[in-house]
Symmetry: C2
Subunit: 344 residues, 2 copies
DNA sequence: GACTCCAGGTAAATCGGTTTACTAATTTTG
DNA sequence: CAAAATTAGTAAACCGATTTACCTGGAGTC
């Protein structure tokens, strides 16, 4: 019965005996039409089961109704870190009022830049990219507002971040206060995607700088820290614990993300290692779920949700012609029970 | 220096002294052009900083390069349940190979249907909607493949789900085996969005049916169960615990999601209530993160990731002209330590 | 030398809407 | 009552690509 081909505005116009313009007006500017005509058109549209094509509409209005989140890893890997979830929630909460959807943009066949080129979005949020990243120039050419989260405060680029160096310093200073002198740092595998930016993330570098400063002030050499790289997930944390516990002699672990710490807890529990008696654990993020850990996890609490919602607000402002904005959000050292004295 | 207006294929054609067709060919069908022309065009495009407009391309190719995930709640609320994250990871893992992005589509100003109308996607995944939901008809009209997850196995609609009734029966039967006769069921607040489907979810109804059957076979009346409704999040679980612990006399809690159980654990720990000695807890989902709970959570393990990846595969097949498919995935009762004997 | 092929390229149609500029009929205004 | 303004509607341009159908000149064939 129903035509196998899509119902377009043209079909309605013909069947209702009016022009395409009139049909368009019936939906978008009913005031320009007599109510009789308007109703007739609308009735015909309903009868034919018409649904406006969002893509065609976008072409002229220049609004896709979605905000992109550029990921440097496949969705599968990126979402293993609940911290990303919190950021997404924040972005979503700001964008909801404007009817915007969130487009998760993973690398296109391994290419982050290609993904950024093809993304049909009104604005883009990129996590952890600096002002010299190619995507910055690309989005400028595409004339699409870009906001980075945890990028670098650079020229003419909006960013929402925290003082990573200071936070790392604060955390390590606290840990060193317990007498630890052999530390394990659990870092994230740098996402190596073929866009030339497969370097250690800017965040990690800033944190390492903070660590070094704290070490120096405590009179310790840099080799008091050993670095272990794993992917950012529960099982990554477990793998890290295995490595550290394999006779490294480290008495404290500092993990770059709470989810890693959670993995470490799991392994320690299985191995009968008591936190913080046998091993001290500290981390970064302060995600909601870290509340379920026993003993409580000492962590640098970053406002993930708020970072996201602030980035969302910056985006809305940018879309509205507002100026570039750099936002620095506070972190706090959440002291709980996972860090203790060096075991004998 | 650079023109303030977008660089289009037309600009390149003019500056390179060729037709638009040639420019298009240079990018998409280089074999149809002499290599000299092709290089000249490409060079001009690079010089002008040309980026093809994804929307315009989509209009003719009829491919957006994204798969929609229809949410019945704001992103902020939906992502509070890590189970959704696992499903997304699964969908993402299947779609990654095809270069597809994931569009999270929350209700548009409270309207789920309006959001579904406006979504520019190649295919849609809807979680928890039945074959009679309006979105099914809509997507048919839009000629966009639809797959439901945890919907109902219905006529001509692809679905990936599990046997919720049997799973619920199995779980409650196990719990009743410990002698419990006063049960608290922690349910999800039905998402009331103005599209007429603000009912208790189909999943919840099927599980309740399974519960009733188990109760009946154990010779208990239906009023042995008390139902509490909260939103699906850690704090929702905490709120549920507060309600249940406020003198209801319930000795076991069955939560509709692991994340709720996690909230319950937090509250119990704070209140000094021992699981499973003072209170038994069981749940549904079997998310990765439930591994960190102490004591281990007894739960109906559903393959969240696999559900997602299977849904993704069905979508790819559908996009390829494949047939409607209904997939039933297995669940297993994960017996761990959170359910015990009724306290005296 | 007439005929077919083919490589290389183009003009115009198309995708499905929105928007601009214009017309004709009616109403208001001075 | 003529001029101006408003109402209701339309044709055509436009958004920025892809795609179809066609053209042209030269090589290959018989």
């Amino acid at each position: 019965m129903r035509s196998s081909t899509r119902v377009t505005i043209k079909d309605i116009a013909e069947k209702a005996g009016v022009s395409k313009t009139t049909v368009s007006f019936a939906f978008n500017e009913p005031s320009k039409l007599s109510s009789a005509t308007c109703e007739r058109v609308l009735a015909m549209a309903a009868q034919l089961g018409y649904v406006p094509d969002p893509v065609a509409r976008t072409l002229t209005t220049r609004r896709t109704g979605s905000v992109g989140i550029l990921l440097c890893q496949p969705v599968e890997e990126a979402l293993r870190n609940p911290y990303l979830g919190e950021i997404l929630q924040g972005i979503g909460s700001s964008c909801a009022g404007q009817g915007l959807s969130l487009l998760l943009v993973p690398p296109f066949h391994g290419q982050v830049m290609e993904a950024a080129r093809r993304a049909a979005v009104d604005a883009l949020v990129a996590i952890g990219v600096g002002p010299d990243h190619q995507v910055v120039d690309l989005m400028q050419r595409r004339q699409i507002p870009l906001v980075t989260i945890d990028g670098c405060p650079g020229e003419g680029l909006s960013n929402v971040g925290v003082d990573d160096e200071a936070a790392a310093y604060e955390l390590l200073e606290y840990v060193l206060g317990f007498g630890h002198s052999r530390l394990a740092i659990v870092e994230l595998e740098p996402e190596v995607y073929s866009d030339g930016s497969g370097q250690t993330s800017a965040v990690a570098r800033r944190r390492m700088a903070g660590f070094s400063r704290a070490l120096g002030e405590a009179g310790l050499a840099v080799d008091a820290m050993r670095t272990f790289r794993v992917d950012c997930s529960l099982s990554g944390g477990m793998a890290a614990a295995d490595k550290v516990l394999a006779g490294t002699g480290c008495t404290a672990i500092l993990a770059m993300a709470d989810i890693l710490a959670m993995g470490i807890y799991v392994r320690c529990s299985e191995a009968g290692i008591r936190i913080p008696v046998d091993l001290s654990v500290a981390a970064f993020d302060g995600i909601q779920l870290s509340r379920i850990l026993q003993p409580g996890l000492t962590t640098i609490s970053q406002p993930g949700f708020e970072k996201g919602s602030e980035a969302g607000r910056v985006i809305l402002s940018l879309l509205d012609g507002g100026p570039v904005r750099q936002v620095l959000m506070p972190t706090t050292l959440q002291v709980r029970a996972s860090v203790g004295q060096v075991p004998d």
